[in-house]
Symmetry: C2
């Protein structure tokens, strides 16, 4: 009996050993291919430097749709198509302008930009007193008496002691998203929000905002101010509460326009009806060229398909790269993709999003069952040679979240986050801040996870 | 009996639990302090932007000695001093110049720089044919007949498939270090080495070289060429083996000059004779401002002392920050420090070096016993909240290695390495490529390891 057990154990070990070995080899091939012949960086160069910022509804967004479709077409996939989706069209207009006045005629310019979705100021701009707050919760304490007729200046900074800068961002971004809606209730005439940036610099960072159900006539203009501008304004306010703040922006919301998600697919050889998605968002804000947010995620997702093909791997399941449109100011692409998938009764088993910058990958966060997280943990040693250590439960991504169901795995690539909010939604989110190796390591890490889930399936 | 065991177990658990808790708290305080009130970035700003490149024997190196001593003086340490050390003085002279000629009068300029320690070319420069090799081992195959009178062009690139770029560097740097010595044996008149850089760009990367025991009269000039220049030269050579390469450099080696290691110390409260060192090197190459290599390591080491003090920790052992002079082209500072320590019979129990750039810390490599590595592994969970995962055996650092003994722990900080060789020894090793949070996270990670080894001692 002992001998039989020993024998079975040996078979078991050798089979596992063989499989582990095969997986090690496949991952090595994926990483080697990405690091020696990756295409993500070249694609990103084109998206960033030939096309540029790709705000939903813009000419550049349409160019990006056409370019990425053509590139996917050239990869010899089983199917490449455009999925129509109506998107909002918001346009910044001429550059914004702001200053504060400590006494009549004595003014200091500060860098601002309109938040995405904001209304314009009147043509002549707005000039008013400033009420500084550390968050929405301060509005009630101050009350209408102190806020009415003034500009609310939201100045709670991102918490520098939080190691993941995304967590720090989450703790602040309500000021940007809901600050105008809330301040309008107290009669504010406009809001200025400290940029979501841990560094002190001169770049204002835009981003989405919502007026909720505020009637159109009550909507007030909202702008972000650079972190240095915010510090200066705050310091000056401490010396002189009577200063006047002036700003002018002529952004405008147009009617929705036609756009597309871009999708490329490798048909599964064994389970073609089980679909695995890997994606990023093709739209970006308009100030920079959207290299980190989220050109990186798009070209990495495209490269996942290419890497699997280039290494000769034939997926059992159907693998799709989806470049979602309009993540930044509407999420229409993510919602449309899920709606179509549901309408067609497609069975999605896995989705992976890359929307946290093109920096050195550290691992993944998973929105999945404990069993599936355990499954991932069994692959940890395969990822260690590539310095991939994070396999935690957490948020996956905005575009794939509408797909969520109990029996699928949602995952988000987790690159190093320390530099991300230096660039996020700002003029300096540009190509030269992306490192080719870091970007390609991300693509290889994504392809490796896709390979493993495709090969072993999603355990129940 | 069972009850007694249970009781003892409970005491044990609660003591351990308390200690773990205390350590968690101390690490949190160190990281918080570094991220909210770190001084490393300000110090680096001064070193980089007010002083600049700090080649041994230069005025800037002396200014850096004075500046860092003054800063350490201001920290209220128990002792700050300068340790005299003679250093070599090599001077680049006027900018180098190079081109290749495909036919007389038809020339293409390429960016080069002299390797540190190289002799000059004759005043009028050198013009000769080019023999491309993939490494020193090719010289023997080609033999004197093909090499004599020509310039040897070492063009083996760093291997992009190696994930740690330091490992990739190790696999190439023999061409730079010994290339001239070896080529001279075959009658070469000069050498050109492909820059140690994984990226294709226009920056030549300098670095140390040695002529071994080649007589002065037989020494040939050695320069690095940018990676793009190397690709261009190699491609052109494939089309035309007869091209002539011209280069001119007027660097010069002077007599040794006086310089210093800069040392600051907190006296141990319980074991003052057990010394723990944390350090980086104060000298740098002359092309950039030496921000990553190794201004970062110096200011992090200084900040380790400050962080321990600022968080109210009183070390049991004596903690020294040592800013070593002349790591780049001589290692005189590291050798002198060890020599003095040995002469004074100082008992060093631990040394940690930061000389791998100011990027996001990933962990440490340890040159120590298995028992001590096990000790470190017992602290893993303390570092996880800070995304510090690497605790491996490996190389510690050039400056602390002369201290090595069997009963001490040598360690090297391991930051993310992907971008390092883009900047290393080149004109673009400058302050704007250092991220404040990444730099401070490194300082906090170092201080945390120092705290733990100080508190628990080095297990035997």
């Amino acid at each position: 009996m002992k001998k039989i057990i020993l024998f079975l154990l040996c078979i078991g070990l050798s089979v596992n050993g063989y499989t582990q070995n095969e997986d090690e080899k496949q991952l090595k091939e994926i990483y080697n291919q990405a690091l020696t012949d990756g295409k993500a960086y070249d694609w990103l160069n084109y998206l960033s430097n030939q096309i540029g910022g790709r705000l939903s509804g813009s000419l550049q967004a349409q160019e990006a749709v056409e370019y990425t479709k053509a590139q996917l077409d050239s990869l010899g996939l089983d199917r490449v198509w455009l999925q129509p989706v109506k998107v909002p069209k918001w346009v910044r207009g001429t550059p914004e302008f702001a200053y504060f006045e400590t006494s009549p005629g004595l003014s200091t310019n500060v860098p601002i930009c309109a938040l995405g979705g904001s209304v314009a100021t009147p043509l002549q701009g707005i000039k008013a007193g400033v009420v500084e707050v550390q968050g929405i919760e301060d509005l009630q304490k101050l009350g209408k008496a102190k806020i009415e007729g003034n500009i609310v200046f939201y100045n709670r900074p991102m918490d520098p002691t939080v190691i993941s800068t995304f967590a720090s961002y989450s703790g602040c971004v309500d000021q940007r998203y809901s600050g105008a809606e809330e301040a309008a209730k107290y009669g504010a005439v406009g809001i200025i929000v400290r940029s979501m940036n841990l560094r002190l610099d001169d770049y204002p960072h835009t981003g989405s905002m919502s007026y909720g159900d505020t009637p159109v006539s009550k909507r007030i203009p909202a702008a972000a101010i650079s972190t240095k501008g915010a510090e200066l304004l705050s310091t000056t306010l401490k010396l002189n509460t009577e200063i006047q703040f002036y700003f002018k922006q002529n952004c405008k919301q147009f009617n929705d326009v036609d756009s597309f998600n871009v999708i490329g697919e490798i048909k599964g050889s064994e389970f073609p009806n089980e679909i695995m998605v890997v994606g990023g968002h093709l739209d970006s804000w308009d100030l920079g060229d959207g290299s980190h947010d989220d050109g990186a995620g798009c070209v990495q997702s495209m490269d996942v398909l290419r890497l699997l093909k280039a290494t000769g791997y034939k997926p059992k399941r159907t693998i799709r790269a989806v470049l979602f449109m309009n993540e930044e100011n509407g999420l229409r692409g993510g919602n449309k993709y899920a709606e179509v998938a549901s309408g067609k009764k497609e069975k999605h088993v896995f989705a992976l999003e890359s929307d946290a910058g093109g920096f050195t990958p550290r691992g993944f966060s998973f929105d999945c069952s404990d069993e599936n997280l355990k499954q991932v943990h069994s692959w940890k040693s395969l990822f260690e040679p590539y310095y991939i250590h994070l396999f935690e439960k957490g948020y996956s991504g905005a575009d794939i979240r509408p797909l969520k169901s109990d029996d699928m795995v949602l995952a988000g690539l987790r690159p190093d986050s320390q530099r991300y909010f230096v660039h996020h939604h700002a003029e300096n989110d540009t190509f030269e801040h992306v490192n080719e190796r870091e970007l390609e390591l991300g693509a290889a890490t994504m392809a490796s996870l896709v390979y493993l889930f495709d090969k072993y399936g999603i355990v129940k």
